[in-house]
Amino acid sequence: MIAIIKYNAGNVRSVQNALTKLGYESVITDNRETILSADKVIFPGVGEASSAMNYLKEKGLDKTILDIKKPMLGICLGLQLMCNYSEEGDTDCLGIFKASVKKFPPNDTVPHMGWNNFSSTSGVLCQGITDTQDVYYVHSYYAEVTENTTAICNYIVPFSASMRKNNFYATQFHPEKSAGIGTRILQNFLEL
C-alpha cells in the first residue's frame, strides 16, 4: 500500500491515477498510523509554502513525515517543504534537506513552466534517464544545489531537479505529468 499525504495542495488525484495505472494500490490520507505503516509514501504538492506548512503543523503531519522510515517521495512543493527554509512566505520548512528555497530572479519568464531536461549526478531515482530526456516542471521558487542534490536542472540558475537524504527522495518536476519518462521515474521509486 502506498500512502499519498493529504493536505491542502492540489493535484493529489493525478498522483493516484499514475499509481493505479502502474498497478499499485494507494490511499490519500492524513492519518499518522496509515502513513507510518505504508510501504511507500508520496508527498505531493502544488500551492504556496507558508499556508502548506501551517496546514501540516495543524494536522501534526510535520512530525509524522519526519518519523517515516520507509521511502518517501516529495514532488514539487513537496521537495521545497522538505528543505530548511523557503523564501515563499518566509517559511521555516521540514529541514530534511540542507538547502534554501529561493525565488527565481526575473531574468526570464517565471514560472519555469514546461518541459526541461536535467543532468543526473547520482541516485537511483533517475536511473536509466539520459540528459536529453525532458520532464515537466512548473514552479517559481527553486531549491539551491547542495550535497543532497542528485540531479541538476538549469533555468536562469542551476537548481535541484531531484534530491535525496537517506529514505527521503524528492523531485522538483512532476513525474506523474511527465509522460513515459515520468512513469519510469515513479517506477524506480516504487521498486526501491
Binding site: G10, N11, R13, S14, N17, A18, T20, K21, V46, G47, E48, P106, T109, V110, P111, H112, M113, G114, W115, N116, N117, T132, D134, Y136, V138, H139, S140, N154, Y155, H174, E176, K177, S178, A179, G180, G182, T183
Partner: protein, 252 residues
C-alpha cells in the same frame, strides 16, 4: 534547456470535439478522449480542452469527461469554458484538471483572478485573451469573440499578470481559422510586456508558422486545433522540423 510547447486544443461541445472557423461554422472533429490519447503518444506537450457550450446542464458531463481525461493521460491539461467562480475551479481541479482557463468572467470580474490564484496558486490559472485588431488597435473581446470591450490587449495582459495569472493564452481572432500564420506583432508585444508565459494561438497553418512565432516573439508555447485534428501536420513531423530549425522542442 526549456522547450517550446506544442499544444493541441480540443473544443468540446456536448462531449465531442468540434472546430469552427473564426468562431463560427462548427464541424465535428472526433472523440476527445481518443484524440487526447493520440496526441499524448505523438508527443504533445500539454492539452487544452475548451467547453464552448458551457451551459449549466453540461457541467456534469464536462466534469465526468475531465475525470476520464485525467485517468487516461499523463501530461498536463487545462480546462476552460464557463468558469465563473472559485467553486467551478475547485470542481475542475478535483476532477483532475491541472489548470483552468478563464476568459470573459475575468474581464467582467478581475478579482476572480486573484481569488483563484490565492486559493489554488498561480500555476493552475491560465487567463485566455481573445483579441482583435480594429481601428488601429488590438482590443480584448469576450463571449467567444462576439462582444468588444474597452480594454487594450497589452494593458489587460499586464493587469492579469499583476492580479496573479500564471500564464496567458492569447488568441488573435483576425488569424484564428485562417491558417495564415500567428499574429506575430501582438504576440510579441504581449510576451515582451509581461514576465509570465504566453501561449500563441490562432492562425497556425504550416510548420513554418511555428518557427516564426518562436523566433519572432517570446511565446513559450503555441496552440492549434484543426491542423492537428485533421492530420494536416502530424505533431512528430512538426517537432522534427522545429528541431532542424534550432527551436528547442521535446523529442519523444
Amino acid at each position: 534547456m526549456l522547450k517550446k510547447r506544442i499544444i493541441p486544443c480540443l473544443d468540446i461541445m456536448n462531449g465531442r470535439t468540434v472546430k469552427g472557423i473564426n468562431f463560427v461554422g462548427i464541424k465535428d472533429a472526433g472523440d476527445p478522449i481518443e484524440l487526447a490519447k493520440k496526441y499524448v503518444q505523438e508527443g504533445a506537450d500539454e492539452l487544452v480542452f475548451l467547453d464552448i457550450t458551457a451551459t449549466i446542464e453540461n457541467r456534469t458531463t464536462l466534469l465526468q469527461l475531465v475525470e476520464r481525461i485525467a485517468s487516461e493521460i499523463n501530461i498536463p491539461f487545462t480546462v476552460g469554458g464557463g468558469i465563473n467562480t472559485v467553486e467551478d475551479v475547485s470542481n475542475l481541479l478535483n476532477a483532475g484538471a491541472d489548470k483552468v482557463s478563464v476568459n470573459s468572467s475575468a474581464v467582467k470580474n478581475p478579482s476572480l483572478i486573484t481569488d483563484i490564484a490565492t486559493t489554488f496558486g498561480s500555476q493552475c490559472l491560465v487567463v485566455a485573451i481573445d483579441t482583435k485588431f480594429e481601428a488601429d488597435e488590438w482590443k480584448v473581446f469576450v463571449h467567444g469573440g462576439r462582444t468588444p470591450t474597452e480594454l487594450t490587449t497589452v494593458q489587460w495582459a499586464q493587469q492579469v499578470e499583476a492580479l496573479g495569472a500564471g500564464e496567458i493564452l492569447l488568441t488573435s481572432m483576425n488569424n484564428d481559422g485562417t491558417k495564415g500564420g500567428f499574429a506575430l506583432d501582438i504576440t510579441n508585444q504581449v510576451s515582451t510586456a509581461i514576465n509570465i508565459p504566453v501561449i500563441a494561438s490562432g492562425g497556425a497553418g504550416t510548420k513554418k508558422h511555428f518557427t516564426e512565432v518562436f523566433e519572432q516573439t517570446k511565446a513559450t508555447g503555441a496552440l492549434a486545433a484543426s491542423i492537428f485534428h485533421y492530420g494536416e501536420i502530424p505533431i512528430p513531423e512538426l517537432k522534427e522540423y522545429l528541431h532542424t530549425k534550432n527551436v528547442a522542442v521535446r523529442l519523444t
